[in-house]
């Protein structure tokens, strides 16, 4: 594989974490415009731990995930009772606040005579753990996909379990679920924390793949894209968001056929696809049909 193909595939893997995080919230009935913030929290926290304090990447990733989970839990506490658009706007406001805080965040250390660390809107360069530890691009790609596979297996197991039914029940009708004895607040807070951790993991991997991050990487465009990926791929299975990412980044950017017109093509396709399938390609009915077909 050439470097370009490896880069595209790695990007697909990274963004898939964000799309999965949007998907997890969507199936429990919440639409978030703010997942990019937790992706950003992960990127900054992970990058700082490895580049400034010499932590190993796995340890930094775990710590960043915990931080992402905590961040979304805290944002969720006052906002999860809000419905629909109100929740979306509250998450958008929180995410834009986070982005501006990244712009204001100057925190550097002198390492070997060089300042290292986030420098406000100048960004944060030199997140070189992958390079310094001799991890080849292909190996890094393997790492990203191994983690993604792990996340997917977890999703598929949860969706087949009682917990999965509870999640979808809360998503479809929270009041009905509550009347059946589900503690809706607890479920939603748990989902928020898990979604934050997933987004943060994507962020850590993103920061170490790019070696350079800046606040505007984590703007509203990224968040709405991940929402769109989850929705066009389909809300019937955790493979849906992946399909969404593959369709956009893989088929359109990777093929370079529509260079210069990619957004026009992608935008039109998404709008038409949603008329045909408002819950995405792999929606609940498609998934049931596939299951019957192959079991």
């Amino acid at each position: 594989m050439d470097d370009y193909a490896i880069g595209v595939l790695t990007n697909i893997g990274l963004i898939s974490f964000l799309a999965l995080s949007a998907y997890l919230l969507l199936i429990t009935g919440e639409m978030s415009f703010g997942q990019q913030a937790f992706f950003g929290v992960g990127a900054y926290a992970g990058g700082m731990l490895t580049a400034m304090y010499g932590w190993s990447l796995p340890l930094a990733a775990l710590c960043a995930m915990a931080l992402g989970a905590l961040a979304q839990f805290l944002v969720g506490l006052p906002t999860l009772r809000l419905r629909g658009l109100y929740f979306a706007m509250a998450t958008l406001a929180a995410a834009e606040m986070a982005r501006i805080l990244f712009e204001l965040f100057h925190f550097q250390r002198q390492l070997e005579g060089e300042p290292v660390g986030p420098d406000g809107s100048q960004g944060f360069r030199g997140i070189r753990w992958v390079f310094e530890h001799g991890v080849e691009p292909l190996e890094y790609l393997g790492m990203v996909y191994a983690l993604l596979a792990l996340a997917l297996v977890a999703f598929l197991l949860v969706e087949r379990s009682r917990l999965g039914a509870t999640l979808r029940g809360v998503g479809e009708d929270a009041e009905l679920a509550a009347s059946l004895g589900v503690n809706v607040t607890r479920v939603k807070l748990g989902v928020a924390a898990a979604a934050g951790a997933l987004a943060a993991l994507g962020g850590v991997l993103y920061a170490h793949h790019n070696t350079y991050i800046e606040p505007r990487n984590f703007d509203i465009m990224l968040g709405v894209h991940s929402l769109a990926y989850a929705l066009i791929g389909g809300l019937g299975t955790a493979l849906g968001p992946l399909l969404g990412v593959v369709l956009d980044i893989g088929a359109l950017e990777g093929s370079r056929v529509f260079q210069g017109y990619r957004m026009i093509v992608f935008g039109g396709l998404v709008a038409l696809l949603l008329i045909w399938r408002p819950r995405g390609l792999l929606d609940e009915r498609a998934v049931q049909w596939l299951r019957r077909r192959f079991s």
């Binding site: 969507l26 639409m31 006052p78 906002t79 009772r81 809000l82 419905r83 629909g84 658009l85 109100y86 706007m89 509250a90 406001a93 929180a94 834009e96 606040m97 501006i100 805080l101 712009e103 204001l104 509203i220 709405v224 929402l227 769109a228 929705l231 066009i232 210069g260 017109y261 990619r262 957004m263 026009i264 992608f266 935008g267 039109g268 396709l269 998404v270 709008a271 038409l272 949603l274 008329i275 408002p278 819950r279």
Partner: protein, 289 residues
Amino acid sequence: MSDLAQNTLDGLFLGSSYALLALGFTLIFGVLRRVNLSFGPAVMFGCYAATWVNLNFGAGLVLLALVTILGSILAGAYVERLCFAPHRGGSAIAAMVASFALWMQFEELASIVLPRHLYDFPPLHGGAPLAFGAMTLRIESLVMLFAALLMCALLWWILYRTRFGVAVRAVIDQPQAAQLAGINVPRVFMLTFALASAIGGLAGFLIAASHEQVTPMLGMWSTMKGLLAMMLGGLGSLPGAVLGGLALGLLEAHSQWFFGPQNRDLIAYALIFILLAARVPWMTTRSAS
């Protein structure tokens, strides 16, 4: 003291542009119960159409205003047909994501037709601002404020004094009953969309002409400011949209003076977040699922 008064004037000017955008947003949200993320980008499309006409033919201001408004209506109609008409009574999320997809189209189209990052737009009023002692007042500010108030009055007249207005209010309150009463609901949707886009186009023209420039960022800017002002004033209320716009403008002008531009946005978002989390009654009583 005079700084405070000057900031208040600037805030009212900024706020009246937000108010106009929020009016268009609110009209669509009130009738369709859907958020149109492409509202700002459609306005930007109108402004770019006018800029293109200006670059190639050097038209006058009135003609440019007409081109902006017509361009916005055209773009709005495209959005309505592709994103909202098919999802009527269906999924709100699908409609919103579809409108985001078209936003991407408008942005790329704008950068293909006019690839520079910044284009000049002819000024609304080239002359010097009015001076009152130490304070200054741009003519543009007065025009913008006047336009916002005029649009609000015009909308009130349309909604409360015409047959079309009765139909629109019926659709807002009881969509099914309205349909049963023989109101052509899809037609009301289309006309409302056109009206909202026309208001957005007027707002876009005034904003471009008073800043004397257009950039592709105008789309996202209009959507964000319109959405925030609409939320602040209470979803779906027209007087609320104007008040929300003015309040957002005043807040931004004063906090920019005291704390600088980055903190200005931080404060605005923090306020929205806190008000939503506190579930203040005027913002969260309407159902918006």
